[in-house]
């Protein structure tokens, strides 16, 4: 079964008098363990799609299945819960809490976990993950004391704290130089090798090249790469069926 499956998702912004359709029926699937790039020029609906995929926003119509759960019908609090334990976010501008240590930043999402976790256990998990991203000796540092690459690694550690099956990276290298970009992308690569599904949202072809598949958006529709074997078949349903059976074999 796929981790993500979108079926004819539309999103229309209601600006009072005008209705602005941003997504005009997007269907796609992402299997477990994939490293996918979501690409497209600005205005292509890429960000809106990412917001919907990341459960930050609701689609106007269509179905969204994440990890076997129907997301499209969830209310705000339920979506918050899904974000907390199924999705990790990495942002372009890191979004770390200032004057808060790397460790505290990493374990922050645990505050909002459904079941409260003892303080000691939280710290243990935080340390473990910071070690995994190679910041063992930077745990007590504040974001202002860390380089851009280190900050982004703290952000990655934070996104991993709840062991989510899915990781969103929104232009993760946008604020980094090419060398640190490579390090960060390598980290995504290795995380992907560990079995985490990663969606890289980017407009840069260089970053897109790290992925095994690129989903390209254009004018509110998926231009290419919606399914594992990027096919543009007129009979979408048949393709979906084919994909499903094929992915089943792959998995």
């Amino acid at each position: 079964m796929d981790l993500i499956r979108l079926n004819n998702i539309t999103k229309t912004y209601d600006l009072g008098e005008v209705q602005v359709p941003v997504l005009k029926g997007v269907s796609l699937a992402v299997g477990r363990g994939e490293l996918v790039a979501l690409m497209g020029a600005s205005g292509s609906g890429k960000s809106t799609l990412m917001n919907i995929l990341g459960c930050l926003d609701r689609a106007t119509s269509g179905e969204y299945w994440l990890d076997g759960q129907d997301i499209s019908e969830l209310d705000t609090d339920q979506r918050a819960h899904v974000r907390n334990h199924k999705i990790g976010f990495v942002f372009q501008s890191f979004n770390l809490l200032a004057r808060t240590t790397a460790l505290e930043n990493v374990i922050m999402p645990l505050t909002y976990a459904e079941k409260s976790i003892p303080d000691r256990e939280q710290k243990r998990r935080g340390r473990e993950i910071l070690e995994r991203v190679g910041l063992k000796d930077r745990m007590g540092h504040y974001p202002s004391q860390l380089s851009g690459g280190q900050q982004q690694r703290v952000a990655i550690a934070r996104s991993l704290i709840n062991n989510p099956p899915l990781l969103f990276a929104d232009e993760p290298t946008g604020n980094l130089d090419s060398k640190t970009s490579e390090e960060v992308l390598q980290m995504f690569q290795s995380l992907n090798n560990d079995g985490i599904t990663i969606i890289l949202v980017t407009h840069s072809a260089e970053v897109g090249a790290w992925s095994k598949r690129a989903i390209t958006m254009k004018d509110g529709l998926v231009e290419s790469g919606a399914f594992a074997h990027s096919l543009h078949a007129p009979n979408l349903k048949a393709v979906v069926e084919a994909e499903r059976s094929e992915l089943g074999i792959v998995l």
Binding site: L56, T76, A80, F91, L97, R99, P109, T111, D119, N162
Partner: protein
């Protein structure tokens, strides 16, 4: 667990901008501080005032004999002869609300000393406890004793006016004066009390054992005290009618003893004019009235349908004054507190709104990693409550400090008031919740996408 984390998060957020947090709480600090200071100073002065009013007799009750009524004709208040020293003793022993009690008999006669004479406004025969009831300290000398009362000793206390008029203001302690041709020794001089509410000079007074006044000065000997009608006379001031001191002319010839035996008079014990008593405090006055009433009804063998043969009176006017002053003070404090706390609260609200705007991205991030609106609401609410509680704590310190300084430098009476401190904590928490709610609610309603994009 979660609440501790919310608390530490709030503290950390506040620590990011210590100066601003301190300035924000200044309103609360001043508000709570002024309330505490005024409360402590107010309680102190109110205590002092209560003490003063108590010494004026606010806690005092007076028991008078009731009216004598025969064939529908009333002889007026106090005309019956119903109170005895034994009643007084019973009140002392059986009424828990009564702090002190003393019997009073009145006399009125001329005093002579040092070649001067004077008729005091009030001449009371009583027990040593009378001074406790009236809360009347001695300026000099000492009180007479219970033994003096038993022995009908010719000792007395005099007021400042008497000392001035008879002894030219020199110390009268140990000096002698004649009262109705009996020589009294002055054992103590009372402190100045001034005029009472009716303008009567309370210092124009002589206080002596009641037995002495009743049996020696008023001239009613033991034999007469056993008759059904007692004459309280001020006889003897006229020297012509009193050739032989202490002998009262009787209108009728004395009964021969045989005749007395043939027609026995009902035995009546020495009666007294008044019983004065003091309740422990203003709240105990009502219970004291009830206890005394039921005790005296019982002792006087009154049937349930019979009216009281005595009257219990209190100084209701004083009590009203006392109550209204306290109420006024409390209301004044409440107004001041309310105004300053509203001002402080608006300050808190203002800064919390700024803080929410400033931390929009943080709120967006927290929402993206799974914080629900309720979590955000709780976090900001906690922050403003912590802010207000810190302000309240500082205010309590400030207020207590101020009142301490006031009492140390100006010598005003102050009293710490734990109630005010509890109220201060409760009020500052309430201000935090009330004025922090809107900003927190605003934060919780942010759209995470917008918030994350906010610059």
């Amino acid at each position: 667990m979660r609440s501790i984390r919310t608390f530490t998060t709030a503290v950390r957020a506040l620590r990011r901008n210590v100066m601003r947090a301190v300035l924000t709480t200044l309103g609360i600090v001043i508000g709570i501080g002024s309330v505490i200071a005024m409360m402590e100073i107010g309680t102190g002065s109110s205590n002092a005032m209560q003490k003063t009013v108590a010494s004026m007799g606010a806690n005092n009750l007076m028991v008078f004999p009731g009216q004598a009524r025969a064939a529908g004709v009333s002889a007026g208040q106090g005309s019956s002869v119903s109170l005895t020293p034994a009643d007084c003793e019973a009140i002392r022993q059986e009424c828990p609300s009564v702090q002190a009690v003393a019997p009073v008999v009145w006399g009125r006669t001329q005093l002579v000393a040092d070649g001067k004479n004077w008729v005091p406004n009030s001449m009371s025969g009583t027990t040593p406890e009378y001074l406790d009831v009236r809360q009347w300290p001695l300026a000099e000398g000492q009180n007479f004793t219970d033994r003096d009362v038993r022995n009908r000793a010719t000792v007395c206390l005099i007021g400042q006016t008497l000392q001035r008029e008879l002894f030219d203001g020199h110390s009268a302690v140990g000096k002698e004066m004649r009262v109705n041709n009996i020589t009294f020794r002055v054992v103590g001089v009372l402190a100045t009390k001034g005029a009472n509410m009716m303008g009567q000079d309370q210092d124009d007074v002589l206080i002596a054992p009641w037995t002495t006044i009743k049996f020696r000065v008023s001239g009613s000997g033991y034999s007469q005290s056993n008759q059904s009608v007692t004459t309280v006379t001020a006889s003897g001031t006229n020297s012509i009618s009193n050739l032989y001191p202490s002998v009262v002319w009787s209108t009728y010839p004395t009964k021969p003893s045989l005749q007395s035996l043939d027609s026995p008079m009902p035995v009546r014990f020495a009666n007294i004019n008044q019983i004065v008593l003091a309740a422990w405090n203003a709240d105990q006055i009502q219970p004291a009235i009830e206890q005394v009433t039921s005790l005296l009804r019982d002792r006087h063998h009154l049937r349930p349908d019979e009216p009281n043969d005595f009257d219990v009176r209190n100084l209701a006017e004083f009590m009203k004054v006392l109550g209204s002053t306290t109420a006024l003070m409390t209301n004044l404090l409440l107004c001041v507190a309310a105004i300053s706390l509203i001002v402080g609260g608006v300050g808190i609200m203002n800064i919390m709104l700024v803080s929410v705007t400033e931390r929009t991205r943080e709120i967006g991030l927290r929402m993206a990693v799974g914080a629900r609106g309720a979590d955000i609401l709780r976090q900001f609410l906690t922050e403003s409550v912590v802010l207000c509680l810190m302000g309240g704590a500082l205010g309590i310190l400030l207020g207590s400090g101020t009142s301490w300084i006031v009492s140390a430098t100006l010598g005003w009476p102050t009293a710490s008031s734990p109630g005010a401190i509890v109220a201060a904590v409760a009020v500052s928490a309430t201000v935090g919740i009330v004025f922090g709610y809107y900003p927190a609610w605003k934060a919780s309603r942010l759209d995470p996408i917008e918030a994350l994009r906010y610059e």
